[in-house]
């Protein structure tokens, strides 16, 4: 089971597109793999014959497990076998044929055929690479979303060992936290309750949000935007798009959120000091602007990223976000489509929410929570008038950006949203 995304710990084989006995060429699609965030196509790394399917469709295994064997065809036709331990793939060759013992491989016990993806990717943690820790401690920390640089090692020479990591994880779990999705040990179901196993997206979401809330010091800035011009601009843009669409064609449309995303991207370009990530002992300044848009799924949440958002027109942003959201709901996003964002926008306006505060999606420095645009009585030039207003709340990582910096960014954003044609110019 290859590692198909940074956060992937295990994968589910959705379907096998090749059968045992089929010839495969390098690059052929072997199977569809459901990871924690998406369903991806698995390409063959080598040519040969699919000799054995070890993990049947529907089964989930950790990364690094053998899921199938591609060989020269001599072992084909043995059919599928479930849960065959890796070692069994070594046929105890008939003694008469002096068994060719292979040089030691990374996947001991699989000498005769090329296992599909036997090797797991190395640790992905950036700032933990220099930390001295046992491999097991690293693996546990990785699974728990624990930053090893925050753990004190008690082993020889300060090495972090399992006991240290487990104590740190236990500390995390016992800390009171509203988003304590991982501290489920304290919660028990009663006779009137039903236990639902966590799906992968839910588990990852829970882990990352706990990590964010516990490790990222959030502060919040709320501002009311006069959205009258914005609402009208949107209507005019859509009317214009309809007018230039030939009869019978489907006119593109932009949403208020598309305009917000465009304004956010422009504001980030104007405030590079906000387009940064906190990285332990340094800040990483992002020279490109990639805005993520939160998409709710039936079973969780995902934040696909629109690359180079500041260089796109609103209709391009609209098309990109529609496409990403559609494929996100189908589980068809590729890993690089939901990673690498520098800022996120989340919008609950369509549910009638006036305002809310969002949890930052690390390592991004901030997230903008957008409420609905609605008519309110406001005072304008000494008169009470009905205007569309919209409240936005910026959650900011205080390690990366200070209050005044966040407020300046928000002021620019407000002025862009209140003068939408300037934002488009």
């Amino acid at each position: 089971m290859p590692r198909l995304s940074d956060t992937m710990q295990e994968g589910t084989v959705s379907t096998w597109t090749k059968k045992v006995g089929d010839r495969v060429d390098k690059g052929d699609i072997l199977a569809e793999i459901e990871t924690d965030k998406a369903t991806m196509e698995l390409e063959a790394y080598d040519a040969g014959v699919l000799e054995r399917i070890v993990v049947e469709a529907g089964k989930t295994v950790p990364i690094g497990e053998i899921i199938a064997v591609i060989g020269d065809g001599s072992g084909a036709g043995k059919g599928t076998g479930t849960g065959v331990p890796a070692g069994e793939a070594t046929p105890a060759a008939p003694a008469a044929d002096t068994p060719p013992e292979p040089p030691v491989s990374a996947a001991p016990g699989i000498p005769t055929a090329q296992p599909v993806a036997a090797a797991t990717a190395g640790p992905t943690a950036g700032n933990t690479a220099a930390v001295k820790a046992s491999p097991l401690a690293r693996a546990i920390a990785r699974d728990a979303g624990l930053d090893l640089s925050t753990v004190r090692g008690s082993g020889p020479g300060g090495r972090i060992v399992r006991a240290d990591v487990e104590a740190a994880v236990a500390g995390l779990r016992s800390a009171p936290t509203p988003a304590s999705a991982v501290s489920s040990s304290a919660v028990r179901s009663g006779p009137d309750d039903e236990e639902l196993p966590l799906n992968k997206v839910r588990r990852i979401t829970a882990r990352r949000l706990v990590e964010s809330k516990q490790q990222v010091p959030h502060f919040y800035l709320t501002r009311t935007i006069d959205a009258e011009e914005l609402v009208q601009a949107r209507a005019q843009i859509n009317a214009g798009l309809a007018a230039i669409t030939p009869n019978g064609g489907t006119a593109s449309k932009v949403s208020v959120n598309d305009l917000v995303v465009k304004a956010v991207a422009s504001a980030l370009r104007a405030h590079p000091e906000v387009n940064v990530s906190f990285a332990g002992d340094k800040l990483i300044k992002h020279n490109r602007v990639h805005v993520g848009i939160a998409v709710s799924l039936d079973d969780g949440l995902i934040v696909p990223v629109i690359r180079d958002t500041d260089t796109l027109t609103v209709t391009q942003i609209s098309a990109a976000s529609t496409d990403l959201a559609t494929r996100a709901r189908a589980g068809k996003l590729k890993p690089d489509e939901f990673t690498g964002g520098t800022f996120s926008v989340t919008n609950l306006g369509m549910f009638g929410v006036d305002e809310f505060s969002a949890i930052i999606n690390p390592p991004e420095p901030a997230i903008l929570a957008v409420g609905r645009a609605k008519q309110e009585a406001v005072v304008r030039d000494g008169q009470i008038v009905a205007r569309h207003t919209m409240r936005v709340t910026l959650s900011v990582d205080h390690r990366a950006v200070d209050g005044a910096g966040g407020a300046r960014f928000l002021a620019t954003l407000a002025s862009l949203l209140e003068n939408p044609f300037a934002a488009l110019a």
């Binding site: 331990p85 890796a86 070692g87 105890a92 008939p94 003694a95 008469a96 044929d97 002096t98 068994p99 060719p100 013992e101 030691v104 491989s105 990374a106 996947a107 001991p108 016990g109 797991t120 046992s134 491999p135 097991l136 401690a137 690293r138 693996a139 008690s154 082993g155 020889p156 090495r159 060992v161 399992r162 006991a163 240290d164």
Partner: protein, 331 residues
Amino acid sequence: MAVITYRQALNETLRSELLRDPDVFLMGEEIGIFEGSYKITAGLLKEFGPERVRDTPIAEEGFVGAAIGAAMLGLRPVVEIMTINFSIVALDQIVNHAAKIHTMFGGQSKVPMVIRTPGGGGQQLAATHSQNIEVWYAHVPGLKVVVPSTPADAKGLLAASIRDDDPVMFIEHLALYNTKGEVPEGDYVIPIGKAAVTKEGTDITIVSYSRMAAVALDVAKRLEEDEGVSAEVVDLRSLRPLDRETILASVRKTSKAVILEEDWLSYGVGAEIAATIQEGAFDYLDAPVRRVAAAEIPLPYSKPLELAALPDATALVKVIHETLDATRFRS
């Protein structure tokens, strides 16, 4: 189940294989009239006659070569080399002929022979007669190398070796001949290439073979009783083929491993085991894999020096403690 010695188990297995298969015959120095330097072949000349229990000249290269020829032509010779140290004289026959004939001649001829020979130190036999050079043979593709630690394994693995179609180095241990254990009666064959977990445990894995596997098992039992340490003992039983999966499954469970080997440390069996563990169970390790092996010197004749040079229970316990402490197990 009868309780018999390792020596008796070997003797009875040779006898029953001679009875079972008329192609089986024995060759070696002083195995007939003298009944073997270590009496493994006691009574067999009398019962089977000089055709099938053949005394040879003191010429290891000659009689190993003769056995290879006999094996190529369909017999199943079981050669005794008095100690593993003398197998060095026959190294060319074993490594360049027995191990390679099957593949070099395109499978036209098998070499179904067994070379039985004891290794090991601790008997005050001095440097040239007290060696653990099994790894030399374990390095060679085409050979199988079997290293039983108990009377039962001696029986089951010797039967399997004689019935195997490859050349097998069946390496006994001088200090095990008088050890006793329960041995299943009747036809008892242990497949070559499957390690035994002789004691299950959860805290640390001890990997060993031959006499040191017996030492490891004693230490593991004592640690459990005295200190509540749950050690798992993996007895390799054969060095080639090597049962990597059993080792890895154990280490994935315990996350710590110590290897006890009677050979020299550098390039020894433990090096191969340690490499296997880091390749196959890296993410499961909570401490470095440690090796307990013999001092890297020709083994001294002097008893106190000989004992000091060989690995033992005390050395193993020390390294187990160090490994446990490195993971804060005991604090």
